[in-house]
Amino acid sequence: FTAGNPKWKTNNLTYRILNYTPKMRQADVDEAIQKALSVWSNVTPLTFRKVEDKEADIMISFAYRDHQDNSPFDGPNGQLAHAFQPGEGIGGDVHLDEEEAWTKDGKGYNLFIVMAHELGHSLGLSHSTDPGALMYPAYSYTDPNEFLLPQDDIDGIQAIYGQSNAAVQPTGPVTPQACDPNLTFDAITILRGEIIFFKGRYMLRKHPSRAETELNFISLFWPKLPSGIQAAYENVEKDEVLVFKEDKYWVIRGYDIAPRYPKPIYHLGLPKTVKRINAAYNDENTGKTYFFTADRYWRYDENKKSMDHGYPRKIVSDFGKIGRIDAAFQKDGYIYFFHGTTQFQFDPRAKRIVRQMKSISWFNC
């Protein structure tokens, strides 16, 4: 919250776009701003009306370097924009650094994302310490089509203006905490020796010889990947990671997504009855990849590039009572299966579960 808890005295606010950047089509700027306003009006009683020819509560403009507000911009990168807390005159106004590479996608800086953040300030929010929050001070890209206002921001703005008038109160994604005992995972894979845990739009990254766990947005490394990855595995031979969501899969090569992806999972030989994959791991010794869905699993031969005969098989008959598998990976000869907050260590040689742990056991909690 901003010191002094400034807020607008009315819920019905006006905004005006004073000028436009030449780097985007005017319609795209209008759309980005409208979408950014709706981020806040969707979760509060606030409404925003556009005015053209008079003073508005929120005056939006693109500005260069020193622009007479005692807070000069600094050219490309660095400071992207700033906004003033609620109040008369300059209060509520948003200034955007004209020298940034404004875009409507993942290249450069996405105007919608920055605008939504700045409007948070215009409405009275300060910066958040939650790295997943919209109001976190550092820029991070999220596909505008996938953007959901995080719970931290919802809690903040509703503390100032109250809840939305909607019958069903909106909720938002919560930033995963590595040592949260209730933490579960969508997918896990090894990536060049590190363990990558996928959760919503985040990935937790753990290097075996570093104590701390790093939290990042998936979009930081792979802007074109969706959030909510459901399965992933590494093909060490080809230095590729395959990630799966619904009936599609992508091939990751370092920071790049291989061209002509995503492709249908049926190209791997899975039947059309399979709509999604819950978990997958690759056994680098045998070159076989195991795909788990519901209570069955398939085995794929990476060398022959085809499914092995005799599959699917029942998970319980070959791996034991694990239940639905959320994620799996192989490390040091063992397979680690994740079911909710529980983790099973499976020994493929003894063909049995040899240990049961918490899912967060990898994070030095």
């Binding site: 507000d69 005692n70 807070s71 911009f73 990168n77 660095g78 400071q79 992207l80 924009a81 700033h82 906004a83 003033f84 807390q85 109040g87 005159g89 300059i90 209060g91 200034h95 650094d97 800086y109 920055v114 953040h117 700045e118 300030h121 910066h127 310490t129 790295p131 001070p137 550092a138 820029y139 290097h207 570093r210 701390e212």
Partner: protein, 84 residues
């Protein structure tokens, strides 16, 4: 893990740190800029404040993670004293 850059000279590091803390943490421009000073200088105090806020390890020193965070594009903090 990230390979530390060649020994970035202390002057350049100090410049990055000072500018960042002046821009975003209200570090006064006439503070005493010793990074190695034992008693906590205003700069070290502001550095710790920044590290704590952004979820970094609070060392009071411009370590790799801190410098990397300082180079990230971010929202500015307008100087509103004259308006208040």
């Amino acid at each position: 893990f990230p390979v530390p850059p060649e020994a970035e000279d202390e002057g350049k590091t100090l410049q990055i740190v000072e500018t960042y803390l002046q821009n975003f943490y209200n570090l006064q421009r006439d503070h005493q800029p010793h990074l190695r000073n034992k008693s906590e200088s205003p700069l070290t105090a502001k550095l710790k404040e920044m590290q704590a806020f952004l979820g970094l390890e609070v060392t009071g020193k411009p370590d790799l993670d801190t410098l990397e965070m300082m180079k990230k594009p971010r929202c500015g903090v307008p100087n509103i004293e004259q308006y208040i």
